[in-house]
């Protein structure tokens, strides 16, 4: 049975039990440890989007107030999904438990908890699958690695499927390409069937469904927020871009993660988008309806993800744009790359994307009509359309963190690096086994970026932080660039805990810092309104660097 750990009493310390556990994992129940799990979702969030079993509950409760027939619901749901997803069916069957994935998971490395090994996290579900869906499991039970679905097992699922960030790193190392993310996604769908939602995911989903973005920014809040960004841009560069919203007839619709509109340091990236588009005179519009590229629905169920994703094409169609640019975001791009067209396509009401500035055709986006902004910008730089002064970023020693989703769900590696190398003079890679397709997760992806599970996030981010620490030691890296809004939200605390002294930014913040805009005033500040070293007081530049 699940239990909640109480702080150890002093007398407990003196009588530590030295005997190793007699039980194997099939029989070791889960403990809900504070700091490692998120709150259960509030009633209103579930009700707003029509998710089942809304109720007041907490994961540490003994009674989860599950529907009476919860077991049937889960098993029926499992059966349905086994029939709908070959990946699920296959991944239940073919694992040989070679253990190659074991030490590839950031949560396992950071915690040592064996159930955080991808293989075992998947076995939590396979054991139930075997019991109810295979002959061997029915006949031989435990010897075949099968077990009953009990409430304790369900709680264990919940605990560990919300300790997986669906980063797919294990999938890169699995000889059969078994993707724990696929299993986690199914696990979470099943848990959602009986109301096993977390608050941090439920909220954004409900917001996004009703208001168009995770943060729940209403239309006027979006425009006024961008106004504030424009104020800052004007202060820095003397130029005030004039973006449009919900404008019909624009050539391009721009969709960014809403996190960039509101939270630091995402806002600096948003300023970067605004400055870039202004400088090249792009005919584009923002939308307040489709004001979210990210998709927390993806962390609940495929159906919910599709419901949220619907808005982008619907809005593009309504506004009559030719094609779409997507901002710097992680799971947003996994969804746009792998799911959007299948769910809500075909996007035949738009045309194949062509850069109006360079004339380059984005052939790799001719189906979805959606271009990643780093593809767009890299093309601009390659064609010499931007005037850049990388020395404005000289106070930064930059390293680049590949976000899991764009890395392993899309394969976008060179574009952001190309931009960074053109706008910064000091770029250093982290150790090769922690970047590109082998990149480590920030530890907070897939809806785990809540506040109450901070300890878990710090653990999960430990491997990435170690990688940053090594380049901090070696090259004095002080800026961690990325192309993901979740990264920009969660890496700052991670850095503050493990690697103090390293800040976090989007690549377009770096770009905008270096971008020489026509008619701009002499810049003395970067986008963060901090003084550029060596610009005003030449002599004191060095001193400041040492601070």
């Amino acid at each position: 049975m699940a239990k909640t750990t109480q702080p150890a009493k002093p007398e407990e310390l003196s009588k530590i039990d030295y005997t190793p556990p007699a039980t194997d994992w099939l029989e070791t129940p889960v403990e809900f440890k504070p700091g490692t799990y998120c709150h259960g979702s509030r009633i209103k969030y579930l009700e707003e989007v029509g998710f089942p079993n809304p109720r007041e509950w907490a994961p540490s409760d003994e009674d989860w107030k599950l529907p009476a027939n919860w077991k049937d619901i889960i098993l029926e749901g499992m059966k349905e999904r086994l029939g709908k997803y070959r990946s699920f069916q296959l991944f239940m069957d073919i694992c040989v438990r070679c253990g190659a994935c074991a030490d590839k998971c950031h949560f396992y490395i950071g915690s040592g908890d064996p159930k955080n090994m991808p293989v075992l996290r998947a076995e939590l579900m396979r054991s139930v699958y075997r019991k109810y869906f295979t002959t061997g499991g029915k006949l031989f039970g435990k010897q075949a690695g099968a077990r009953e679905l009990t409430e304790a097992v369900l709680k264990e699922w919940w605990y560990y499927f919300y300790q997986c960030t669906e980063c797919r790193r294990c999938s890169v190392f699995c000889p059969y390409g078994i993707d724990q993310a696929e299993i986690t996604m199914m696990g979470r769908e099943l848990l959602n069937l009986v109301g096993g939602q977390t608050d941090w995911i439920g909220g954004p989903v409900a917001n996004c469904y009703k208001k168009g973005n995770h943060l729940g920014l209403e239309p006027h809040a979006i425009t006024s927020n961008i106004d504030y960004l424009l104020d800052d841009i004007e202060e820095i560069s003397g130029i005030r871009p004039e973006p449009s919203f919900n404008r019909k007839g624009a050539e391009i619709l721009f969709v960014a993660p809403s996190g960039d509109l509101f939270g630091d340091p995402g806002t600096y990236t948003a300023m970067g988008y605004l400055m870039l588009f202004h400088e090249i005179g792009l005919d584009y519009t923002w939308s307040t309806y489709a004001s979210e590229g990210g998709n927390f629905g993806f962390f609940t169920s495929m159906e919910m993800a599709k419901r949220l994703n619907y808005k982008i094409y619907a809005e593009a169609k309504r506004l009559g744009v030719k094609w779409i640019i997507g901002g710097e975001c992680g799971h947003m791009w996994r969804v746009l790359n792998q799911y959007m067209d299948t769910w809500n396509g075909p996007a035949d009401f738009m045309v194949e994307p062509v850069s109006p500035i360079t004339g380059t055709k984005f052939e790799n986006a001719k189906g979805t009509k959606m271009v990643h902004i780093t593809e767009f910008t890299a093309d601009l730089i390659k064609n010499g359309k931007l005037k850049l002064d990388p020395s404005r970023n000289d106070h930064l020693n930059v390293t680049f963190h590949d976000s899991c989703n764009t890395a392993r769900g899309m394969g976008i590696f060179e574009e952001p690096r190309y931009i960074i190398k053109n706008v910064c003079n000091n770029f250093h890679e982290m150790p090769e086994d922690t970047i590109r397709e082998k990149t480590f997760c920030c530890g907070s992806g897939s809806g785990l970026n809540a506040g109450e599970n901070m300890e878990l996030r710090m653990r999960g981010g430990f491997p990435k932080a170690s990688a940053v620490k090594s380049v901090q030691k070696k090259y004095g890296v002080n800026m961690l660039a990325n192309i993901c809004a979740i990264d920009r939200a969660v890496l700052p605390p991670l850095m503050q805990y493990w690697v103090p002294g390293v800040s976090v930014c989007g690549t377009h913040e770096l770009l905008a810092n270096a971008l020489v805009m026509t008619g701009e005033k002499k810049r003395t500040q970067d986008l963060r309104l901090e003084d550029l070293p060596g610009i005003e007081e030449e002599g004191e530049g060095e001193e400041e660097e040492n601070v």
């Binding site: 150790p431 090769e432 090594s470 070696k474």
Partner: protein
């Protein structure tokens, strides 16, 4: 780490492709030899060892270069060799690989090679040679790989590596000594029957191996970011100078012994090699080339003022290498068989298949070397430790 060998520039792949083609040609030639017998070579009833065994003998020497770096670095804490020592270890791996392959292609019944293990015969030097060569190969692979791997991970090498490194030092000496004993212990072969055979082997090894290493280090520097460091290269140059001097001195000792004593058996081989015997003089031009190159090399190596200039050092190293290659590759083995036990002269010259097989084996060794160097260089480039230390 081996993955590093699978990605590379056009130039890298061109080199790999060329080596693979040579290996392919060598393999075909070997299949021809395997089918038709060793009769397709130039070897004969009288000169029963030829090019293969002489290449093996020479390459045992090349393999030694590692120890000339390991001793200063690990025993005397000479830090300047920190970067180049891996090149030495991997050169040893490539060279020993070639040695073993040369022995295999020289066998009449390679299918039975395991008989050496199945019927161990400690009274045979060849048994010991097989033992020490395989051991040395193993040591260098393990040491080189383990230290590089640790370096890549940014960690000190595991504790068990150190003892192996120390073991590799006497082991390197043993491969020469044992190989010299192959020859020096045979009655009736006057040219080989000399007490300083092992010493000559060591001297020439410590000249030829490091000379090749210098050349390789400079090539690597030219085509990659990997710089072993000037001081390291100059120090090795010094080693080459001393070793080559000793080597030439030993040869002079041999000449004196043979010609002052005037014992015919001892003189004949030298006569055959340098002036010809009974009208046979196939090797004379080669041997003189070797001798002249040796002198040139010494002239360029001994005075520091000449040696210190890198371009001179390269020329001297090439001279040393070629001179010793001729000396070991032709002179030593063929000289031992001429004249034959009946005081007759049978000459030897490698045939086309023999040459192709030899080339193929060299190409295999260099492929191993290329791959290992590629891995080492890539690891260092990635770590940012490829450049010269300031």
């Amino acid at each position: 780490m081996l993955d590093k060998a699978l990605t590379g520039s056009k130039r890298y792949w061109t080199l790999v492709f060329i080596l693979l083609s040579l290996i392919g040609a060598g393999t075909l030639a070997y299949l021809y030899q395997f089918k038709n017998g060793l009769g397709v070579t130039g070897m004969s009833r009288d000169v029963s060892w030829g090019f293969y065994i002489s290449q093996f003998t020479f390459l045992v020497g090349v393999a030694a270069s590692a120890v000339m770096l390991v001793i200063p670095y690990y025993l005397h804490n000479y830090k300047k060799f920190g970067k180049i020592v891996i090149l030495g270890e991997f050169l040893a791996v490539g060279a020993v690989t070639m040695c073993l392959l040369f022995i295999v292609v020289d066998m009449g019944q390679p299918m039975r090679m395991l008989n050496v293990i199945l019927h161990p015969t400690p009274n045979s030097i060849l048994f010991w040679d097989a033992t020490v060569l395989n051991g040395y190969l193993f040591l260098n692979i393990v040491i080189g790989w383990a230290t590089l791997h640790a370096e890549k991970k940014g960690l000190p090498p595991a504790g068990w590596v150190k003892p192996l490194i120390y073991l590799s030092i006497p082991w390197a000496v043993s491969i020469h000594t044992v190989t010299a004993f192959l020859y020096a212990g045979l009655p009736g072969r006057h040219f080989w029957l000399t007490a300083i055979m092992a010493a000559r082997f060591l001297a020439s090894a410590f000249a030829a191996g490091p000379a090749l290493l210098i050349i390789l280090a400079l090539i690597v520097r030219k085509y990659s970011k990997f710089d072993a460091g000037n001081e390291a290269i100059q120090s090795i140059g010094k080693i080459v100078a001393y070793a080559m001097t000793a080597n030439v001195f030993f040869i002079i000792l041999e000449l004196f012994t043979a010609f002052y004593s005037q014992i015919p058996g001892h003189m004949h081989a030298f006569q055959y090699l340098f002036v010809g015997l009974e009208g046979h003089s196939k090797l004379v031009p080669l041997m003189w080339t070797s001798a002249i190159l040796a002198v040139v090399a010494l002239v360029m190596l001994i005075p520091p003022s000449i040696r210190n200039k890198e371009s001179n050092l390269v020329v001297a190293c090439v001279a040393v290498f070629i001179s010793l290659w001729i000396d070991k590759g032709f002179g030593l083995v063929i000289g031992g068989f001429v004249p034959n036990p009946f005081d007759g002269v049978t000459e030897y010259w490698p045939t086309l298949p023999e040459t192709l097989i030899t080339l193929g084996v060299w190409a295999t060794g260099f492929l191993v070397l290329t791959i290992l160097y590629k891995v080492a260089i890539s690891v260092r480039e990635e770590l940012g430790t490829a450049g010269a230390e300031k």
